[in-house]
Amino acid sequence: MIITVKLFAQYREGRFKIEQKEYKEGITAQFILDELGISEDHLPLGVLMVNSRHQHPDIVLKDGDILALFPKVGGG
């Protein structure tokens, strides 16, 4: 299946803004987070959206889904 991944803010560093890739059926958003090396240690996950709706990383993705990932922003 084809998933479009949109990265925002600091997640783009060393990666991309938008990319379409082929993935095997049944993977979750967490799989892509892991594949991209988005680790809790340095840039924790903030907003995660699939097709413009807020979701959790364990959501199972479907062909044509658009996954948007934002780092957590919590400073003041």
Partner: protein, 266 residues
């Protein structure tokens, strides 16, 4: 015997009352700056300091802001700047809450931090600075951290400003405002990124406890100022009944010159 109003009336020009009339009135009538400013607004006049707000804010708007009470949690990069923007825009009463003192690493972005203020309570320093900007303000400073034991400080406030630096505490504040039905303005910054919303659904942003990208990327001076500007504008818009961001998170990425709107509705 000349009354304060009659005395002030003689100084009005194009509906504006100059600061010199305030200082003269205080000497003559042994009143406070606040009493003079209250009289100015009640008579339908404007303090001349707000001349450059004209036509963007009406006299009625300006009077509404003067009679408002805004509560700001956090007096750091966001809060210190928000406090200054709101004071200069005309908010009449501010309560500032922050348990921190200034530290050296604040000097890159916290507007009232200087080498001379290191070690001093932020809430107190900001409060003193605001009173120097406009002695007609009322500013209350609480040198405390916000927690679940002080929820009643929100009572009677018109707008609550989330200028905190802990996602966990931001969540507590948001849910408290939701429960108490008090208008809420969230902002957060990290590196080149600032985000704001008037929604209390911050669980979309903070799924787990712990800091965000700011722990690793810091916060730049202009990012703090940008976020504070967004917040101050939203506070004024709430008070004046203008369109806010109840269903949207507005994020600005200064690095990529991007503005993004993220839905916040369930």
């Amino acid at each position: 015997m000349l009354s304060l109003i009659s005395f002030l009336r003689s100084s009005v020009q194009d509906n504006y009352v100059p600061y010199s009339a305030y200082t003269d009135a205080i000497k003559r009538f042994s009143c406070s700056f606040r009493e003079v400013e209250t009289a100015v607004f009640n008579e339908g006049w404007m303090p001349r300091r707000y001349h450059r707000n004209q036509h963007s804010l009406s006299q009625k708007d300006q009077a509404k802001l003067f009679h408002a009470h805004v509560l700001i949690f956090g007096c750091g990069g966001l809060g210190g700047n928000v406090a200054e923007f709101l004071a200069r825009c005309g908010i009449g009463t501010l309560t500032l809450v922050d348990g921190d003192v200034y530290e050296e690493h604040n000097l890159n972005r916290q507007n009232f931090s200087t080498p001379a203020t290191l070690g001093m309570a932020k809430a107190n320093v900001v409060s003193d600075a605001l009173m120097r900007i406009n002695p007609a303000l009322q500013v209350n400073a609480l040198h405390r951290y916000f927690d679940s034991t002080m929820l009643d400080v929100l009572n009677g406030k018109d707008v609550v400003v989330d200028a905190l630096d802990s996602p966990e505490v931001k969540l507590l504040l948001a849910s408290t405002c939701k429960t108490q039905k008090i208008s809420f303005v969230h902002c957060a910054i990290a590196g080149w990124i600032a985000q704001c919303t008037t929604s209390t659904n911050l669980s979309y942003l903070y799924k787990e406890s712990g800091k965000g990208a700011e722990a690793n990327r810091g916060n730049l001076s202009f990012t703090a100022s940008l976020g504070a500007s967004m917040q101050a504008a939203l506070v004024v818009k709430i008070l004046l009944g203008k369109e806010t961001l109840d269903d949207t998170l507005w994020m600005i990425d200064f690095n990529d010159n991007e503005s993004i709107q993220i839905p916040m509705k369930i």
